[in-house]
Symmetry: C2
Subunit: 117 residues, 2 copies
DNA sequence: TCTGTATATAAATGGCTATCGATCTGCAGC
DNA sequence: GCTGCAGATCGATAGCCATTTATATACAGA
């Protein structure tokens, strides 16, 4: 996935070109698109989507040991998905003794939600 | 990406287990999670997000020849991204003579948007 | 201090994906 | 027919990703 410099400069195409005339530019700027896409990408996996769903529905923090048995996946795999969500800024974690509790970061999904509306 | 049978059966863990007691189940079922995640995944790329943004903002249909010069990407790459969006059910296309016009399918983003709210 | 338990990390692997150049298809004009 | 253009598809490649097993870390209890 190329990350930067994908947007061409906002100049009209040279006059020699044929094809259609008007050029439409995106209103979402490249930086914002990168941020929103990052969140969407993290949600683009059924397991992660359900993880977020569980965390969101559960007001407080949820222990990893509760999350793992919800899926037919190994514990490291669930841990991996939680890490992806954490790195996307969607969830946070807190360790208490042996247990780790995860929670949805408030407003983490706000920008994506706003863009969709 | 494993697609099915990721959710474990909704039975309590055997009594022998230690750890936390209550088990929280996702409200979003596996099938719905798959559908929503499919859309989110398609939007999980900055280029595709901006493509959808342009199409959404432009009420009618937008010619591919307008979309390609917006990005510093080759024409086949843009075509590829449009195909991904089409296969995710987000956009549709219509060919008129030499040109192909793309448009956002109404309500394609509705389920994701609803889940986020 | 030893043992077990809860998570995280490491290493490996098979599959997917973003990108490009080259090529193919289909249409419009001459 | 031929020529040129718009767009899609193909083939290749390099990087990323989801998963697993094995191992490490870190804490709790005896």
């Amino acid at each position: 996935m190329a990350i930067d410099l994908q947007l061409a400069p906002k100049t009209k195409r040279p006059a020699g070109e044929r094809c259609c005339e008007p050029v439409v530019y995106p209103d979402v700027e490249a930086e914002q698109a990168k941020r929103v896409a990052r969140v969407a990408k993290a949600l683009g996996d059924p397991v992660r989507l359900q993880l977020v769903d569980v965390l969101r529905r559960h007001a407080g923090k949820v222990c990893v040991c509760e999350l793992v048995p919800l899926f037919n996946l190994s514990q490291p795999t669930v841990s991996h998905h939680l890490k992806v969500l954490r790195e996307a800024g969607i969830v946070g974690s807190e360790r208490v003794g042996l247990w780790a509790y995860y929670f949805v970061i408030p407003d983490a999904l706000k920008e994506l939600s706003a863009w969709l509306s």
